[in-house]
């Protein structure tokens, strides 16, 4: 029942997104702009993997910060949140939005990574390890961003507040994931990254459980 309802919330978000292109168009442009700024900042120089990994995560972080809040802000701006509250419980709303944000982030990150590799000549020596770290890092990123998006959708000055609130919460994750992707791109074996992957998984689980428990206080008036 819960899973079915969350799937319905996800499907509703997806189809309304495909109809209106509320987020996708601006985010695609955002990704393009960010990547080209990186390209012009580097120029023709061949930068080290250590710097490039940092630049990659700047692009990923700011794309998710500018995009992930939309799911909740949209409900408040278009005043559809009351209808959503009437139709289903808070647990299925947060789960559905989480799934939607995950799909959005994974597709955007695939695009960012692809463009980034093409433009900056970024060499990844241990690709499977890199992708595993990226996936688990993104899971944590999405779950923390989603609950904070729910918080700020009720506040004034939503746009500026979002990075301010999410950065300190995301920083433990970001430090770990930047370090792990850097190591993987330099060719460190996957089993040596196991400690970092454990941290990423536990971060994801802790934050998701906390958001599932707390979301009803944010959502219900």
């Amino acid at each position: 029942m819960l899973l079915k309802n969350s799937y319905l919330v996800f499907k509703k978000d997806l189809s309304s997104e495909l109809r209106t292109r509320y987020v996708i168009n601006s985010l695609l442009m955002f990704v393009l702009v960010t990547i080209s700024i990186i390209r012009f900042a580097i120029g023709d120089e061949r930068a080290d993997n250590e710097i490039l990994t940092g630049l990659l995560w700047i692009a990923v972080f700011f794309t998710s910060v500018s995009g992930l809040s939309r799911t909740f802000v949209k409900e408040e701006e278009k005043e559809t949140s009351v209808a959503l509250k009437l139709s289903t419980g808070s647990d299925s709303v947060i789960l559905g939005k989480l799934i939607f944000n995950m799909v959005l982030t994974f597709s955007l990150n695939a695009l960012i990574l692809l463009l980034f590799v093409i433009i900056t000549d970024y060499q990844i020596k241990n690709l499977p390890g890199f992708l595993i770290v990226l996936v688990f890092g993104n899971l944590g990123l999405v779950s923390a961003s989603t609950i904070i998006a729910a918080i700020i959708s009720k506040a004034n000055s939503k746009g500026t507040l979002y990075p301010v609130l999410s950065f300190p919460v995301l920083l433990p994750l970001l430090i770990t994931v930047i370090n792990a992707t850097k190591l993987a791109s330099l060719g460190v074996e996957t089993d040596k990254l196991f400690g970092e992957i454990q941290i990423l998984i536990s971060y994801f689980i802790v934050v998701t459980v906390a958001s599932l428990m707390l979301f009803k206080y944010v959502w219900e008036d």
């Binding site: 004034n156 301010v164 920083l171």
Partner: protein, 220 residues
Amino acid sequence: MNKIFTSLVFLIISGVIVLGLALPIPNIPALGDKARVLYFHVPMSWISVLAFFMSMWYSIRYLKTKDHDYDIRSYSCAQLGFLFCILATATGSLWAKFSWGSFWNWDPRQTSIFILLLIYGAYFALRSAIDSEDQRAKLSSVYAIIAAVTVPFFVFIMPRIVESLHPDPIINTQGKINMDSSMLTVFISALTGFTMLYLWMLNLKIRVEKINYNKLSINE
């Protein structure tokens, strides 16, 4: 009762300041007289963490009971915690200048206190961006809890990434306290004195905030 408590706080803190500066310090390699910062820096850091978790505790109580009293307590804890966090950063940074050669060099301990400052800042930014009293209380409580569950990750992550140069007479792997008895006495009294000072300030702060809250509801 309150008078006794206040004079006790006054006595202990004056004693700590005088003894902390005047008492001879045993010869500690590479630290020497700089070790005196311990009497002030460690209590400040301890209180900023204590206030952070007290704020989280009152946030949980608020969400459970919806009693506005707890929100006022949580907010007061956060305000005092922020003050002590700034003091801990300043004393630590001064000490770092004379021991490590620069005020700020992103040592893991410095990074973690920086995060704590950021979280406090974000919490106040969130509170000032919400107009309705109930919404503000609810949302800032949720944020305080979310922030508090992610903070412990620093304890496990930071040592994995970079070696810290921070001396650890209190929290070390052997679980021993490496201090001679006169230092230990001053240190323990500093810890007690500043914690009592914090509790006394917290009591005042909560009372002031309550008066403010009642005044607001009368005006409305």
